[in-house]
Symmetry: D2
C-alpha cells in the first residue's frame, strides 16, 4: 500500500509530531496552489509545458491528503465512495448532464 511508503517517509524523520490536522490542511492548500501556479496566465487550450512539475505538485497534494486521512484513520476509497453518493444526490444525472452549473443553480 502506498500509504505505507508515505508513513515510512514521515516516521523516518519523526515528523508525526508536527502533523496536526490544521497544519496538514494548510499544506494541502499550499500544494494545490503550487499546482495551480503551473496554469497561471495560460489559456485552457494551451498544452502543459512541464508535465514533470505537474506530476510533482499533484503528488504533493495527494501525499498530504493521504497523511491527513492516516491521522484520522480514514480509508481513502471509503470516503471517496461516500462523497460520490452525496454528489450523485446533489447532481442528479437528469439535471446536470452536459451542464457546468452549480447544484445551487440547477
Amino acid at each position: 500500500m502506498i500509504i505505507d511508503d508515505i508513513n515510512k517517509f514521515r516516521d523516518d524523520r519523526n515528523w508525526r509530531q508536527f502533523h496536526n490536522e490544521k497544519d496538514l490542511a494548510i499544506s494541502i492548500s499550499l500544494e494545490a496552489s503550487e499546482l495551480l501556479e503551473l496554469f497561471q496566465w495560460k489559456s485552457v487550450t494551451e498544452g502543459i509545458s512541464d508535465i514533470e512539475k505537474v506530476k510533482e505538485e499533484l503528488a504533493d497534494v495527494l501525499i498530504y491528503s493521504y497523511m491527513m486521512a492516516d491521522n484520522l484513520n480514514l480509508d481513502i476509497d471509503s470516503i471517496i465512495k461516500e462523497k460520490l453518493i452525496k454528489n450523485d444526490q446533489k447532481y442528479p444525472i437528469s439535471k446536470s448532464k452536459n451542464s457546468n452549473k452549480k447544484y445551487t443553480e440547477l
Copy 2:
C-alpha cells in the same frame, strides 16, 4: 478501482468536456480551501468539531486530484513514489529528523 467509480460519475453527466486541467487545478485548490476553512480560527489542539465535513472536503480534494491524474494518464501510486524519492533527497533523514525546517533552511 476507485478511479472507475469517479470516472463513471463524471461520464454519466458527460462532464469530461469541462474538465480541462486548468479548471481542475482551480477546483482542487478551492476544495483544499473548503477543507482548511474547517480549521479557521481553531487552535491546533482543538479537536475536530465535524469529522463528517472533514471527510467530505478531503474526499473532494482527492476526487478532483484523481480526475486530473486520469486526464493526464498518470498513475497515482507511481507519481507518489517518484515524489517520495525526490523528497528523500531534499530532506535527508540525517538533517531533517525532528526538524520542521524547509529544505532551503536545512
Copy 3:
C-alpha cells in the same frame, strides 16, 4: 493615488491584455498562498521570522486586488465600507463580542 502607480506599472508593460478577471482571481489566490506559506508549520505565538517577505507577499495580494478593482471600476474604500455594513448585520456586536464563531453558528 497608489492605484495610479499600479496601473503605470501594468501599462508600461502593456499587460492589461492578459488581465482578465479570472486570471487575476487566480493570481490573488496564489499570492495569498505565498503569504500563508510564511506561516506554514509555525506556531501562532512564534514571531515572524522574515518581515520583509511578509511585506512583499502582502503587497502582492493587494496589488492584484487593486488591479481587479480597477478592471471592474470598483472603488476600494466603497466596497470595503459596504462589506463592513453587511458584516455588521451578520455579526451583531451583542452576539459576536469575544466570540470566534462563524455567523452560521451564532
Copy 4:
C-alpha cells in the same frame, strides 16, 4: 481612513485577541478562494454573472489584508510602492512588454 472603519468593526467585537498573523493569512487565502470560486468553470470571456458577490469577496480579501497590515504596523501604500520597485527590477519593461512569461523564464 478606511482602516479606522475596519479597526472599529474589529474592536467593537473585541476580536483583536483572535487575530494572530497566521490565522489572518489563512483568512486572506480563504477569502481569495471564495473570490476565485465565482470564476470556477467559467471561460475567461464569459461576463461576470454576479458583480455584487465579486465586490463582497474582493472586499473580504482587502479587509483581512488591511487587518494584517495593521497588526504589523505596515503602511499599505508604502509596501505596495516598495514591491512595485522590486517588480520593476524582476520585470524590466524591455523584456516583459507584451509578454506573460514569469521572470524566471524571461
